[in-house]
Amino acid sequence: MASTPVHDPIGSPSADANLEVRTTTCYMCACRCGIRVHLNGGEIRYIDGNPNHPLNKGVICAKGSSGIMKQHSPARLTQPLRRKPGAKRGDGEFEPISWEETFRLLSDRLEHIRKTDPKKFALFTGRDQMQALTGLFARQFGTPNYAAHGGFCSVNMAAGLIYTIGGSFWEFGGPDLDRAKLFVMIGTAEDHHSNPLKIAISKFKRDGGRFISINPVRTGYSAIADEWVPIKPGTDGALMLAIIHELIAMGLYDREFLARYTNAGELVNLDEAHDEFGMFVRSEVPKEEGCFDPQNKLWWDRITNRPVITHAEGADPFLFGEFTMPDGTKVKPSFQLLQERVKDYTPDWASKITGIPAATIHRLAYEMGVTARDQKVELPIAWTDAWGKEHETVTGNPVAFHAMRGLAAHSNGFHTIRALGILMSMLGTIDRPGGFRHKAPFPRPIPPCAKTPNTDRAVKPDSPLDGMPLGWPADPDDLFVDDEGNPVRIDKAFSWEYPLSVHGLMHNVITNAWRGDPYPIDTLLIFMANMGWNSTMNTAEVRNMLNDKNESGEYKIPFLVVCDAFQSEMTAFADLILPDTTYLERYDVMSMLDRPISEFDGPVDSIRVPIFPPKGDCKPFQEVLIELASRLKLPAFSNQDGTRKFRDYPDFIVNYETAPGSGIGFLSGFRGKGGEKSMVGEPNPRQLEMYEANDCVHHYELPLSYQYMRNWNKGYLEWSQRNRITRYADPIQLHIYSEVLQSFRLAAQGKGITRKPPKHLKQRVESFFDPLPFYYEPLETQVTDLHKYPLSAVTQRPMAMYHSWDSQNAWLRQIHAHNYLMVNASTAKAAGIEDGSWMWIESQWGKVRCMCRYSESVEPGTVWTWNAIGKSAGAWNLSPDANESRLGFLLNHVISEELPSKSGGVVSNSDPVTGQAAWFDVRVRIYPAQPEEPQQSWPQFEPVKPMPGTQPRLGKWLQYFAGKKK
């Protein structure tokens, strides 16, 4: 028997002496940690966290450490591929073509579309972080049909909080766990800020902080919580409102903070006959043009007992009461309205809805209120507020919250999150030590200035879109609708159906395009999203739509282009596949124009640099876009004479400016001729080198006096204005009461001077655009027979997997090769399902056969599974009998992208305010599989073949050893 020589672990010293170390930025997930790639003989010896990086400070996660296996994945696409003539979409029959042919094909088609009707081209992108470029491309092309994953991800979180506090969780801000004493985490499993959050939580716990997790499931971070509060999915709104009720009833709110820094004391017009009913009354000061919050509202001064302009010297507003203006108008401070709103939202009421004992709700409120009040943090940092008042110190009320998709991914999430924002504001924890902290470029005015065009006439042949494809409506006049009030965008974003859909509704694009509602499109380009599988609801049907033809035998979505780095489920449906590079093979920018990786103490952005040349014939998507843009002669990418402006993407990164001479580019660091400027400055030809020499990151630390209270911090606001982060330096008052919402409601009531909704949507807009948060059952619950489908089904992210894209990773898939449905043991037993046995989970939309695992860490009314572990056979170049497809399952098959609408027809299964996909609203029932059924998950799909250019799948063994054959 032959023997392979092996080595004593302490035998010969490893050849690490000749290692080469390169720094770059990880993209095994969207957290974007700094990494060091250690190479041996040109192969990855190992990847570790970069200790100098502000984000991860040297640590790394399971995915990041498995980057090696991404680089060696047999699912890598390496050549542009075209669907074989005659082959059906989804069959995965492809032939390689050259890039030149690819570009010709694409530019011919796109040129024609652009000349005729630019909106027939739609570009939707997934978990990428280059919206700065993709958005620019779409706008320059002239199509309104562009969005990234935000709509199906967590737009409720973005909109709910940004419309309330001018910033949000997600990638915009977070909990200051360095100073918090009480940390309440709601509906979060893993989140984007993966490593930093883990670092922070553990430090917080070690320092003796108290950690409460509100979640139907106890896993991951919640596992180490001091207290777990199991809640029924979709009911957090009730909980938040009851806590607000209790805080008001007991006087456990920060009155000073509310009065000065929020609109709690501002007087609301209660004259129902008035066109301005429900809006703030204003002083005579004329409203200035612009999108900031003008400082022309009124308080009822406690000292002089009369209306005064807010923040008048020496004044202090009543927060409660009812007053009559000199002109006879009845007014109330908005906080009074809030109190009236929550009057009936008692803990007892919420207890029945949430399943949380009323005593627990009381206690939660008290713990928050008392900790905030009695454990104040005071930092000796002097600062000046926007009204010129000097403060000796910065104080904080150390109650920090964090919330994510557990709140966001429900159709009542927007109001739930507004309620959370109000709760955080009442506790006085916004941008203060120990509470919530913003990250540049936040805070922004409420709402942020970016706007879409508000008419279909903004879409013109052969010209860029007149405005942004995505924006932040401030009132109905900002909606992107035609004169009849019909949507202009294919996803119906910014229409009366989903007015504040600030991230678009990617989850409805395929269905809408297939139906031709509002209109058919020609070319759909999907970048980095697996829409044939896990980022789509109703997956099996959507796959059929992608394949569906009209009477004349043409595909309903005529041309489908997919840019992916791997053989995902989606690629099988493409007419044209653009093989992308991996994160170790390209330049990337974590730009201030998109979502940078800023820290609480100031802006941070970073880059990725190629460690390896592109594999095979693959090409960075950025290069593809720049090439296309140049061929199409899009203005921002072309010189006056129509010649190409940028050599390649690195050239673009360095030299592109948002407007000629603006000094604002993709990167904020090392600007100016010699790299001496930050934020704004002329292009610096050596910018990328300087980034690279600086661990690929640029961290601008704000002066201490600018680091807190940024909504009202004069120094910061002016700094941010000077550095073109914001247009205005006005204070950003927190919106306890939302005038923006009221303006839509007024329009629906036929009042006001703005546009009015079409008749069939009047009632919808009127009821959901409530200026104060309210609780309603998720829309799907409202159309479900709860006796038949009593259980909620949710998913969550496993820490060691990124959506669908890590199943090709030989190491990570060993940790999660397939998934079980986790069911509370008592619930499962009641349904006659044994631990480990096959079972069905069924909603009114579909059903899935899967395996059951008993668990005590889940609320009995909820079942859950890991997200996106189940795969379609053969995808990701896994063998057709791989666990992922045989034993694993995708919950999306039981989730619908549409719901029957009350007014007939269908509406998106989304939040009616923001269009957020309501992933976690689905109601199900469970029952055992019959013994004669196959021991296999269902549905199953025809296995797809490996695509040309992918590496043959390894045989039985993988023995990775970097740099030498061993």
Binding site: V59, S194, K198
Partner: protein, 243 residues
């Protein structure tokens, strides 16, 4: 005498598996590698890992605690796996107490794995030798690594800092102190193996609120002319005395 060890703080471990794959990537290309994987892209993928993170549930709903439990070789002070090895391939280093396998001597009889009560050894089915955590012996003394990096790969990776590394025989070391201060314990003490690795238990922070804290004289409701809701409806003196 030195006994190097890992201390796992279950109080902060979130079960992220960073220690699992960082261990694999470091070791597969090092002297302890390769760490073979079987069916990497097929059914029932499986391979050699020196460290695994397991999950347990303690208690029943709603008093449930989910416990993430990383486990690698515990470098027992009295390692039953060592004396049973017929070849001497398994040995415990005198200088630092690390238990290692010399692959060149190992005949792959698997007897040592039977002798480990913790299931900490993994047989490499391709290389046909026994493998296990080396405590990153090739890192911690490596002259080619900067000082900061001379720690086990899993320790450096761990985002929560749940993995401490040091000498448990030195009473002043970080690990000894952590064990003392947090009631650190070892696994299956009943077998007298004296694992060098220790675990720190969950610690819980609670809060007690007294009723007077809810009423308080400085209650902001007073400013707006409102009193806090009385929390007790009990009778007062007025109801029962007569002057």
């Amino acid at each position: 005498m030195t006994q190097l060890a890992l201390i796992i703080d279950l109080n902060v471990c979130v079960g992220c598996h960073a220690c699992v794959t960082s261990c694999k990537e470091w070791n597969t290309s090092g002297p302890a590698g390769p760490m073979s994987d079987e069916n990497p892209y097929g059914a029932d993928p499986t391979g050699v890992f020196f460290n695994r993170v397991q999950t347990y549930e303690v208690g029943t709903f709603p008093d449930t605690c989910t416990l993430h439990f990383p486990k690698s070789c515990l470098h027992c002070e009295d390692p039953p796996c060592v004396p049973v090895c017929p070849t001497g391939a398994s040995y415990k280093r005198k200088e630092d107490g690390i238990v290692l396998v010399d692959y060149d001597k190992c005949i792959g009889c698997q007897y040592c794995s039977w002798a480990c009560p913790y299931g900490a050894r993994e047989f490499d089915e391709k290389q046909k030798v026994m493998k296990k955590c080396t405590l990153c012996v090739d890192r911690i003394y490596s002259e080619t690594l900067p000082e900061r990096d001379r720690k086990p790969s899993c320790v450096l990776a761990c985002p929560t800092g749940a993995r401490l590394f040091g000498d448990v025989h030195d009473p002043e070391s970080n690990v000894s102190r952590a064990i003392r201060d947090n009631a650190g314990y070892d696994l299956m003490p009943e077998w007298g193996t004296h694992p060098a690795n220790h675990y720190l238990p969950r610690r819980r922070t609670t809060m007690t609120i007294h009723e007077d804290e809810l009423i308080r004289a400085d209650n902001p409701l007073k400013i707006d002319g409102k009193q806090p809701k009385p929390t007790t409806q009990q009778p007062t003196l007025d109801d029962s005395t007569s002057w």
